[in-house]
């Protein structure tokens, strides 16, 4: 079996938001919609305060709460663990959006553009009008992964088969790979580090790991 997961090394993330920009460029998401975001958090109490950057988005849970509540079957989980939305099936009821503990889903009800009321040349090409009025979210660049695999490439190793946010990360904080492969890059990272998953107590079994220290 294959289960693709994301690993974010919080020691390395500098909060530059390049992953966010790469995602927006690739997917043409409208203003305010960030399938890949970086949360800028403060921890501790003055004067012992730390600033932490947390890349986040859909956690591609093994037990996704968004899946069960979806009445149309638009939210689906692939065999490789990627949680995807069929935008042609979605009715835009937002049940998934209120079920997601990670706030990873977005809905826009009318076309929005970055500059004024007319699309830029890039938005003309990339914005998908079918995504208006439906729930949208990160899909781990499933199109890139599928095309890469079809060409015999390895997701997480070969950039042509790897999510754009990972490819764009300037500090090497983000890693993508198959956690079911004991020799994979993500397994190697996780075995050598202390890590956690967000809101794991909710039983969602997220596919997004955060490294905080060496093992």
């Amino acid at each position: 079996m294959t289960r693709y997961v994301m690993v974010a090394d919080l020691r390395r993330c500098i909060g530059c938001q390049t992953c966010t920009a790469a995602c927006k460029m690739a997917n043409g998401t409208p203003p305010g919609v960030q399938w890949r975001r970086v949360v800028d958090m403060e921890m501790g109490v003055y004067p012992d305060v730390k600033r932490v950057f947390i890349p986040t988005g859909c956690q591609h849970c093994s037990e996704p709460p968004c899946l069960d509540v979806c009445p149309s079957g638009a939210t689906q989980k692939r065999e490789d663990g990627i949680v995807n939305i069929d935008y042609d099936l979605c009715i835009g009821c937002a049940s998934c959006a209120v079920a997601c503990p990670y706030g990873a889903r977005y809905m826009v009800h009318e076309e929005q553009f970055a500059y004024g009321d007319k699309p830029t040349e890039d938005e003309k090409v990339k914005q998908n009008p079918d995504n208006i009025g439906v729930a949208t979210k990160c899909n781990f660049c499933a199109d890139v992964i599928d095309e890469g695999i079809a060409r015999g490439l390895t997701p997480g190793i070969d950039p042509e088969a790897t999510p754009r946010c990972v490819n764009s990360c300037i500090s090497g904080a983000m890693t993508f790979g198959d956690i079911d492969d004991p020799d994979s890059n993500v397994n190697e990272l996780l075995q050598s580090s202390k890590h956690f998953r967000m809101k794991e107590e909710q039983g969602t079994c997220p596919g997004f790991y955060y490294i905080v220290d060496e093992a």
Binding site: L10, P65, P71, C90, S95, V134, F196, M198, V212
Partner: protein, 291 residues
């Protein structure tokens, strides 16, 4: 502050969604009590018809809310797990049974020699409970929002739906007949039960560490909710017992208040109290070791 570092109010479901829960709760409650009343020889037709209209209005509001209303039929595609699908499936026979029961009951005036409405009304009552339960589970399955996913929201809104339905039933029937004492006692019991369910819900939320803004919103709403939906109805119902001569308007007022209290709760719960909790991490990253 940026969402994630701070909690965020959900804006996916607005007052239209709240109206769905209002219409569904009140309408199914009303149909249920109309069926109970029917078995005791009380009028069915007006209350049941209004109940069906409430349910239909609630579903219409949710139809207005969804992003792709012309794909609404897709709603029926996942009965295995989705309570919204199940709600839609239950709604169809509910309307059929309710409409048949209303028609049969109206036959007293139409003289078409139709069968007794008791059987379809009983089926409609059972489907109402199923419909109400589906709505409660829709709310509770919203794992992203502690105010909704807390399990005690189910008894709270379940009792509230029945209270709202009985409230409208009292309002409608009080001016048609003398409301039997057992209905007034049920109303009193439901209102008290809802207050207890409210406190149980609040204390469970407080224990589970929900966003502060959720607790603050609900605490602010509590006084109004308890006064309108509980204290006033109890006063009016008790006065109705004491002074039977003016019982009719008092019972009707109690019904209105009990219903308004429930509606107020749902509006607050859906549009004001539903915060997605902020992210928390168990430990800060240890920097300076990764080169």
């Amino acid at each position: 502050m940026q969402w994630g570092a701070a909690s965020r109010l959900q804006r996916f479901w607005d007052a239209r969604a709240a109206c769905n829960f209002i219409g569904g709760g009140t309408g199914s409650g009303l149909l249920f009590w109309a069926s109970i009343g029917l078995t005791s020889g009380l009028p069915y037709f007006p209350a049941a018809l209004i109940g069906l209209m409430f349910v239909a209005a609630g579903l219409f509001m949710v139809w207005l809310e969804i992003g792709k209303p012309w794909r609404a039929f897709n709603l029926f595609f996942r009965p295995q797990t989705s309570w919204m699908t199940r709600e839609g499936i239950v709604a169809l026979p509910l309307f059929a049974a309710g409409a048949i029961a209303v028609l049969f009951d109206a036959d007293a005036r139409l003289a078409l020699n139709l069968p007794s409405p008791v059987i379809p009304a009983t089926i409609a009552a059972a489907l109402c409970l199923a419909f109400l339960y589906c709505q409660l589970r829709i709310i509770q399955s919203s794992k992203g929002l502690p105010a909704w996913s807390e399990s005690r929201v189910v008894p709270l809104l379940g009792i509230s739906g029945l209270s709202e339905g009985l409230g409208i039933y009292l309002l409608v029937t009080a001016f048609l007949i003398t409301v039997p004492i057992f209905m007034q006692i049920i109303a009193l019991t439901l209102v008290i039960a809802r207050a207890l369910a409210w406190y149980a819900y609040l204390s469970a939320l407080a224990r589970s560490g929900v966003p502060e803004l959720t607790m603050a919103t609900l605490a602010d709403a509590s006084a109004v909710f308890l006064t309108i939906g509980h204290v006033l109805p109890v006063i009016f119902l008790v006065l109705g017992f004491i002074a039977p001569g003016v019982a009719t308007p008092l019972i009707a007022l109690a019904g209105i208040m009990a219903t308004l209290g429930g509606w107020f709760l749902k509006i607050k719960l859906v549009t004001k109290a539903a915060y997605i909790p902020k992210f928390t991490i168990p430990a800060a990253p240890v920097r300076g070791q990764t080169g």
